[in-house]
Amino acid sequence: MTEMLIEAKGLARHYLVGRHRVLRALDGVDLGVARGATLGLVGESGSGKSTLGRTLVGLQKPSLGQVLFEGKDTATPEPSFMARLRRERQIIFQDPSGALNPRMTIGATVMEHLRVQGWSRADAQSQAAAAIEQAGLATSFLSRYPHEISGGQRQRAVIARAISTDPAFIVADEPVSALDVSIRAQIMNLLHQLQRERGLTMLFISHDLSVVAHMCSDVAVMHLGRIVERAPRAALFKTPRHPYTGALLSAIPIPDPVRERQRMRIILKGEVPNPANKPSGCSFHTRCPRATELCHRVDPPLRSIGTEHQIACHHPLE
């Protein structure tokens, strides 16, 4: 088995909603990302995919469970290990405007990121210049303020900050969702290239399956705080086994009028359940066309079917 760079074990994150209700944003997630792999994480809003990403880079603390980095619990209070974790794990955000301090130049932002970790001013300066060039911007951008550059350029600056510490693992949380179509492709290619050149391990979070299809070698599907299916890219898109994955795939509009009009759509009935008030049993059963009485009662565990393909479903698609 390949070595897992980062791994979630029984990860749960609970929030108290009001006085008594508990929102389980993460509800027992086991997920590993192999070194050098790009794992796609898809799901609808409220599925907990961002919470999972933020927990994996240490921005949020889990209520239960552990995050392992190279097999070691990240909660280990060992100063040298903690310092290494801060360098090795980075995050790219959805909205590049909110991810950059409006009162700091791009250069100051990247340098501050390095200076905090003990870099000298001169080293930080040359490293910032190297990072911005790798992100596909001229070094003259270092003296720009965020409002002086375009959205795509801002996202490149955020990427520059993330790669400046030479990390091993990056969480990309919807990195292209806020961008225009023509800019989106540029950023996807950049991330792809950085991933390849630096052997980065990446968790690529997106609600857009076609973007994930392009970026990732493996894909995991989340629904209400749980992983419901995980498979290599080809298997997941050709033969999805979880009905939820099937519905997601069929809901994506294809930019081809001929095919779009011919294809059969599975249109889910009903609404996404409230995460603070989850249905009993399988959380998808209220919308699932295949649901039976069993699904109503028993929550299916994530199990392996075939090599590298896992699902959590009582009645998988054929």
Binding site: A185, S210, V258, I267, L268
Partner: protein, 318 residues
């Protein structure tokens, strides 16, 4: 009554919207036939939403030029009182964010009743009955109960259904839908699109569907107009446009969409650079990003008919 089918429902000629020196919409012309759905696509800032707001006469502090005839009535020349009477009754609009399109403190049913009584001379009881019918029509289960809930008690998809019900209340001849599903999850988007398509077919109204999502356009519309930096660069029947895009921008846009079955690990074709302010340029707006740009592009190209009903504004298309 002969020849009425050939007269367009909406005829926009040379529409111009300027905010100070910046021309957001720079002399565009198009028409919409009764029962037709026209897609207006483009990236953020290309002027597609501004076009809709100008037609609704909802822009303040803007200089507006050109004409827009709806059933022979010039919308842009109406005084405010006359326009208020048309808004909702003859032409209605659906906004992107259903959360802000509804009044947060008024029960959703009463908001529909409001829309009805504003234009139709009917009693409140009659309006209430119609509002419940409308809620049922937009696929809201148990409409009598949902009549008296507040917007925050409903999901985003449900709110958008209410917004659609309000827009449909007075059976407008023309519906402007501005990114109606962008804020929604894919599975919910599929539901809303299906609903919209059904309603439009049933009522036979004309629709302008504004979106950045070419997949949505492919599945929904009869004709497409592609906008870039305030101008329409290409307009054709949907199937024709996707099969043989003639403008380099349309071509690039279509190629830069990642697709589910496109190869993994290959770069997505991109359009280099980003949109530049229209006021900076004299010639073709797209020229700085265009691979085909030549000396001819220094003068702005006009929209000309190349194939049957296929319009392009580019010097370098045969």
């Amino acid at each position: 009554m002969t020849g009425e089918a050939s007269t367009p429902l909406l005829k926009v000629e040379n529409l111009l919207v300027a905010f100070g020196r910046a021309k957001a919409v720079d002399g565009i012309s198009f028409d919409v036939a009764p029962g037709e759905m026209l897609g207006l696509v483009g990236e953020s800032g290309c002027g597609k939403s501004t076009t809709a707001l100008a037609l609704m006469r909802l822009l303040r502090d803007a200089e507006i030029g050109g004409t827009a005839h709806l059933n022979g009535v010039e919308l842009l020349g109406l005084d405010e009182a006359a326009m208020r009477a048309r808004r909702g009754a003859d032409v209605a609009m659906i906004f992107q964010d259903p959360g802000t399109a509804l009044h947060p403190m008024i029960r959703v049913g009463d908001q529909i009743v409001e829309a009805l009584t504003a234009h139709l001379n009917i009693s409140r009881r009659e309006a209430r009955k119609r509002a419940i019918d409308l809620l049922r029509k937009v696929g809201i289960a148990a409409p009598e109960e949902r009549f008296s809930v507040y917007p925050h008690e409903m999901s985003g998809g449900m709110c958008q259904r209410v917004v659609i019900a309000m827009a449909m209340a007075c059976a407008p001849r023309l519906l402007l839908a501005d990114e109606p599903t962008t804020a929604l999850d894919v599975t919910v988007q599929a539901q809303i699109l299906e609903l919209l398509q059904g309603l439009v077919r049933e009522e036979g109204m004309g629709v302008i569907l504004i979106t950045h999502d070419l997949g949505v356009v492919a599945g929904m519309t009869d004709r497409v107009a592609v906008m870039y930096a305030g101008a329409i660069v290409e307009m054709a029947a949907t199937e024709e446009l996707f099969a043989t895009p003639l403008h380099p921008y349309t071509h690039g846009l279509l190629r830069s969409i990642p697709q589910l079955d496109s190869g993994w690990d290959e770069p997505v074709p991109t359009i280099p650079g980003s949109v530049q302010g229209a006021e900076l340029q004299t010639g073709c707006r797209f020229a700085p990003r265009c691979a085909k740009a030549s000396d001819a592009c220094r003068t702005p190209p006009a929209l000309r008919e190349i194939g049957e009903n296929h319009f392009v504004s580019c010097w370098n298309t045969p």
